[in-house]
Symmetry: none
Subunit: 232 residues, 4 copies
DNA sequence: AATGAATGAGCGTTCATTCAT
DNA sequence: TATGAATGAACGCTCATTCAT
């Protein structure tokens, strides 16, 4: 690779991870140049995380991925922990923004809103970024309380629209029951990551899986009875 | 952890991971002593993986966790790759053995067999070992073709009983449809790991989640129609 | 050598290998301190190469020979390959500079120039540095294409003055013939390294050998005839 | 490389290094099987030395190159030093045997014998084995007194035929003068290794170099005068 | 805001050697 | 004879971090 390279050289798909995706807010009083450097760093770190995994996201590699000297990287992020937390914050926030953006058209009937939301989530799971980042987050959250809390926070936001729809469809259920149903639906979709995510063996079958999943979710909400399991 | 540590100091729960769990076959031409050393090594490696994650499973730490010199570790597993592959092989095989052991009593009606299998899986998910190892495997499989293939192989075995039951319950469906349904059920359960696995926020709610999940799965199999999605 | 050694402890003769000998160019954008460190490193590496051979020139031993931490050595020369290439470059360049400095006084008759040049080469062969380094280079060049090329490049420069004199003395010969004669003379002198170099058994006989060699070279150039070999 | 491999897999040219080449005498009282193992080991060691250099000739690599376990190798050669000394002894002896075999037909006139001997030497230099081994020996001899002595011993044997011819051709010279001439001729030829040995840049020009060299040698012997250097 | 220099720790790996089997 | 097991040291290298410039 020639020396002139200034930008991380990831695949096209990765190039679409823009600053907006990272939801990185400028620090108050910070100069524009520093802000730009921080953006560049987070982009590069994300790129490495996605393309090569958590281990590859070292200070040195991040620095060289954004054509920056190590000393300068540590100026912006004094420790690796700082960088990782900033990155996770940015990544998770970007997903939260995305979830909030999926405005649920109140004109649509609730079942259609449920279907539409699930479709969006399942589509997102197929993206390289999501397929790669979430398993890293899950693994990290097993050994890092901060990550665990932040990830669960994210999922609270992700379940909110589900909870709303379920409650609307089944006003007869208790809040706990609605919550459990929403959790099941959300967890169920997350589980697809491993099987039908980007470059996974069942990615091509995702359309059929979507159909099955949405069908199952709608039926579940419709037919859920307090008398826990159906008679055989 | 202080430096004097020479023996694996994991929690009681981890001590229950026995050799039997690892399905570690003896080697031809090797002495008993060597086999025992290899057992010890794999135990220690697994313990580190579960307790502290993949990064902590370094050759040095594994060696010191089983009070063995690094040189001897590399005698039994010349490269880290060798160790990891042996460990994954043992771990995955142990799960495969476990799956195969869940003999589906043919006296039971298929729906009960389905429910019973899902209960076992969802119970297993709550164990520390499973909660910790699988996210690591998922993260690894994103950047390591060998792990990906081996993990997917494991899931083929895990889906086999599901596929059998689904086919039995719905002889009218095509094999592809049955496969998709089984995949959905399996993936759906895997997704619970992040939310209701060991020490996860919804672990206490697992019984209710089980109920919801099994209800959903049975209804799905029962009611699945070729006319993809139900009318609103 | 005991462990406490922190400073290169080479013989006096080695201490005379100065930076000038190494022809080590400063680097753009670097501080003086860094340049000095790199000098120190190359000095120490050369010292080890001369005193104990190629195998002894390990990153650790070079670092400790110049009272520097290993981490800093790898900062200046990230890989051993980098260090070796820089050292060979410096060493070979220093010889090239030396060869080019042997200005052939055009006032002298060609035979005297030939004799003078050969005397200088044969004297140089007796130095510890030359006696020790060249066999290492020859051995390395058998298994390392870079070293091979660089060494042959050096010899091109070493043959240039010979080629010039031969061509001047025998304008009747073809360029190929002149080249072959120059090559023979050069190779012939190199061969002395093993027998009459520093501390070699025939080092004391070097004056007589010089006489014989120069006599042979001059006669060869003078009497070389297209009719290849003389009649018996 | 499949597991069945039992013999070092070097190039065809290397396969011609037979046990005879190594002149390895059976130990008195040794069983045939042990002798054969020692032969195999020395073959493998030589192959590694020639193909990959001195550094590659480690106990482990030698053992695996002859499909033998490390423990068995150390049974035959307890230390690396033992192996190296045995190998050098065998290699050097094999050259001595070769030199002694070049019987100088007394029917030939001395100059023809000189030419014939030099031709043989210069041809041998082009072989892979010789091109590769001798620079290693030269480098080793700079840091190992045993190797130095053994190599110089070898060259005494190599010079013997030259000394004989020179003495015969020039009975008027003192023994010292003859010795110096023989030394020059021998060293001169050795020097060709680096330039015209196996795969060296001037290997194709070896025939012309031979012509020049032999011409120079014969003239030197013929015309050498006590009055050291010729008048200009 | 950014670079150059340096440290100390840890990594995976290879190695020569010893010893029990 | 030959293999299996184990040790201790060294290797080249990457890393997070600190600090002077």
């Amino acid at each position: 690779m020639p020396t002139g390279c200034q930008v991380p050289d990831f695949e096209a798909d990765l190039r679409t991870i823009t600053v907006a995706d990272l939801a990185f807010p400028p620090r108050e009083g910070g100069y524009a140049k520093g802000h730009q450097s921080r953006e560049l760093i987070l982009q590069a770190a994300l790129g490495l995380l996605v393309e090569e995994g958590y281990r590859a996201m070292s200070m040195r590699r991040v620095a060289s991925a954004c054509a920056m000297k190590l000393g300068n990287l540590t100026y912006h992020f004094p420790t690796r922990e700082d960088l990782i937390q900033a990155l996770l914050e940015a990544v998770i926030s970007s997903y939260e923004i995305e979830f909030d953006r999926i405005t649920h058209d109140p004109a649509l009937p609730p079942e259609a809103r449920l279907a539409s939301y699930c479709e969006l989530i399942l589509e997102d799971i197929r993206s390289k970024k999501t397929t790669r980042i979430f398993p890293e987050l899950w693994a990290l959250s097993n050994h890092d309380a901060f990550v665990l809390e932040r990830v669960q926070e994210l999922y609270v936001r992700a379940r909110a629209p589900l909870l709303e729809v379920v409650t609307e469809m089944r006003p007869d259920l208790t809040p706990d029951q609605c919550e459990t149903i929403a959790l099941f639906i959300s967890a169920s979709m997350e589980g697809m990551t491993v099987f039908a995510g980007h470059e996974k063996p069942f990615e091509p079958a995702m359309p059929e899986i979507e159909t099955v999943a949405i069908r199952a979710f709608i039926d579940l909400v419709r037919n859920f009875a307090a008398a826990a399991r159906p008679a055989p």
